[in-house]
């Protein structure tokens, strides 16, 4: 009887220990997230309700004026809209190129695969500023592209693609591409290649195999890669400023200027909070679209 009681009690104690143990394991990560992300975000949220007056960076207040200004001034809505659109297009372009590259990588074997993996890693080894300087050598009138096209006889006069939306999207895509490639590659690596052979054996042409077998299997990766590129692009400002036209000022640049040049900390915080909401919205949408299957691979 006693023995039975003990044996019944033991798993119960273990369950409690297990929960405590799980929680204990979470504590370091929770502490890091709380200290370095949650607290600054809460501080920023509070700052966004302060006022900016008297030449100081902020004065204590509780006001919605900053949010009202953001939502009623066309110039900030314009900036927000441009940033959103730029992020959407860049994310779409990134996913297309990342998908093709990842698919190609997945189909390769041996040293060939290693070489292409190294190529995919290259942009991650260079700082964003260095990459920008590289494009500055590539796109202008006297840049590599213009001179090459001229020497090949494809154009009659020098051309410049600098300071165009195209240049900004190319620059942003180049930076976000490796992340997209590795997200999608991890999805591809989780697929049994024999399903392609099976589809082929059953008479499906390559395009149909792609549309009805491969694409549905990689859909979650596409959504995550898109979301990652979107989140990264929406907060950036160096590349669009350096490569894009004057009209392409992003919300990131607006935050920088409000914070440092105008020293309007409350309004900069309000802009940052809106940006965070956009990112959270994007992540929630990703979660909804991918469901649970994405966690198996990414």
């Amino acid at each position: 009887m006693t023995a039975v009681t003990l044996s019944e009690a033991r798993p119960a104690r273990l369950r409690v220990d297990g929960r405590l143990g799980q929680f204990a394991l979470l504590v370091p990560a929770l502490a890091l997230v709380t200290i370095f992300f949650a607290l600054p975000a809460i501080y920023m949220l509070r700052m966004s309700f302060n006022a900016h007056e008297g030449g100081q960076s902020y004065s204590e207040a509780w006001t919605f004026a900053n949010y009202l200004r953001l939502l009623t001034e066309p110039i900030y809505l314009f900036s927000l809209g441009k940033t959103f659109l730029l992020a959407l297009v860049t994310a779409a372009v990134t996913v297309v190129f990342a998908y093709i590259f990842a698919l190609y990588l997945w189909l390769q074997r041996g040293w060939h695969k290693l070489v292409f993996l190294a190529i995919a890693l290259c942009p991650l080894l260079i700082s964003e500023i260095s990459i920008i300087f590289g494009w500055w050598m590539f796109f202008p009138n006297n840049g590599v592209l213009s001179i090459t096209l001229l020497q090949l006889g494809l154009i009659e006069d020098k051309i410049s693609l600098m300071y165009t939306v195209f240049a900004a999207i190319v620059g942003l895509t180049y930076i976000s591409l490796p992340f997209g490639i590795f997200i999608l590659l991890s999805i591809f690596d989780g697929i049994d290649r024999r399903v392609l052979e099976a589809a082929s054996d059953l008479g499906a042409p390559p395009l149909k195999t792609f549309a009805e077998v491969l694409f549905p299997l990689t859909r979650s990766g596409i959504v995550v890669a898109f979301s990652q590129a979107f989140v990264w692009t929406i907060g950036t400002y160096a590349t669009p400023i350096a490569l894009g036209p004057d009209s392409l000022w992003t919300i990131g640049l607006e935050i920088y200027q409000q914070m440092n040049t105008w020293r309007d900390w409350p309004f900069a915080s309000a802009l940052a909070m809106v940006l965070i909401l956009l990112v959270l919205g994007s992540m929630a949408l990703t979660r909804r679209l991918t469901g649970r299957d994405v966690t198996h691979h990414v």
């Binding site: 960076s57 040049t261 105008w262």
Partner: protein, 386 residues
């Protein structure tokens, strides 16, 4: 005898202990006076100042870009060589005051920062500067009064003037026959081939203020006069607005633009690196200028070394070296003017005549209208973009 000896002995011992302590105290004071104190007032023999500050660190913020390079090479390195210190310079711009305000008051990220009228004003508003002790900066007597006459009395109690910069007209020689006037920027030939600063737009607005307006005060006379200046800017067709020196260099070197409103430090780099390709001139209408002051930051742990450094900034050798390697103007009256600096001001009157400053009083009028001007400025940038 024994008692006497003993008493005497005890008395001697006790006396010698007191004397020893007193002598040690005086010795320490004298030592400190000999080693450290003269160094602080800037009259120290180099050897004693070196002993006092050897190995001590000092973080000085100078403007970024070419200015920072010149400052490091011709101010920081010679200072360290002279005093055995570990002073270093880091680049900075409008983020400096935010970083100081955000840091603990007794542990600022910098010991000394450079500031012109705008950052000078914001730093004063945030109370981050330490008042200057004139007795520790004897070289202050060598400075042109212009530096003190162009800012409010209350502000002159902080920091030391070092020099200043100006806007300048930069033209690619391939543009051919660019008139030495700001009006060249409005020349039909250069439509779509002009670049100007969209970030520090107050200096950009100084160009139409000096060319078509009633003077630099138009920049801060919002809305009437400032709006007129913006309307003049809107008549331009800009190849690309630049936001920093690196972007300006790229735009000019890649010939996206042929003429530019530049700044003295950036312009000097063009002259040094491509003298056959660019002309850098002071237009006949005059130029907007700013004065670079170096401020000691409250809470610094290196207050005495900071004073020594601020006095060093005004040494003749320091000022001569920097002037020989830049296009800025200096604070000292007796500098050796290099051949590349044509028409360098020779008197305090020249300073007043040549350099139009967006003064601290001007900033006091500009800042309350910042939001409205910024909004209007953005519209102008959109209108003028190619």
């Amino acid at each position: 005898m024994t008692q006497k000896k003993t008493g005497s002995g005890t008395g001697k011992q006790s006396l010698s202990r007191r004397r020893l302590l007193a002598t040690a105290g005086k010795g320490a004071l004298a030592g400190a006076a000999a080693v450290g104190f003269p160094a602080i007032i800037g009259k120290a023999p180099i050897s004693s100042a070196k002993a006092a500050f050897e190995g001590e660190q000092l973080i000085v913020v100078s403007w970024s870009g070419n200015y920072e390079l010149v400052f490091r090479e011709h101010v920081i390195d010679p200072f360290n060589a002279k005093y055995g210190t570990k002073a270093e310079t880091v680049g900075g711009w409008d983020q400096m005051i935010n970083q100081i305000v955000a840091a603990p008051a007794d542990n600022p990220p910098y010991d000394i920062i450079v500031a012109e009228e705008f950052i000078g004003s914001t730093g004063l508003a945030e109370n981050v500067y330490v008042k200057r002790d004139d007795s520790k900066i004897p070289n202050l007597s060598t400075v042109y009064p212009w530096f003190f006459e162009t800012r409010p009395q209350t502000a002159t109690a902080f920091g030391v003037p070092f020099g200043g910069g100006t806007t300048m007209l930069l033209a690619n020689k391939r543009a051919g026959g660019v008139e030495n006037s700001w009006k060249s920027l409005w020349d039909e030939r250069f439509k779509g081939k002009v670049t100007m600063d969209s970030n520090a737009f107050w200096y950009t607005l100084s160009v139409p203020a000096l060319t078509y307006g009633t003077g630099i005060s138009d920049v801060w006379t919002w809305p009437d006069k400032t709006t007129k200046l913006i309307e003049e800017i809107e008549k331009l067709k800009i190849a690309k607005w630049y936001k920093d020196g690196a972007e300006q260099a790229n735009i000019m070197l890649q010939e996206e633009a042929l003429v530019a409103m530049s700044y003295s430090s950036d312009g000097y780099t063009f002259l040094q690196q491509a003298p056959d390709e660019f002309d850098l001139t002071v237009p006949t209408e005059g130029v907007a200028a700013w004065a670079d002051w170096y401020f000691k930051i409250r809470g610094t742990h290196h207050s005495e070394l900071a004073d020594l450094f601020m006095n060093y900034l005004l040494e003749k050798e320091t000022q001569d070296r920097v002037l020989a390697n830049s296009s800025i103007f200096m604070a000292r009256k007796d500098v050796a003017v290099p051949s590349h600096w044509k028409g360098y001001p020779a008197s305090n009157e020249d300073y007043h005549r040549m350099f139009q400053v967006i003064t601290m009083e001007g900033w006091a009028q500009l800042l309350p209208n910042w939001e409205a001007i910024d909004k209007r400025w953005k519209e102008a940038v959109l209108k003028t973009s190619s």
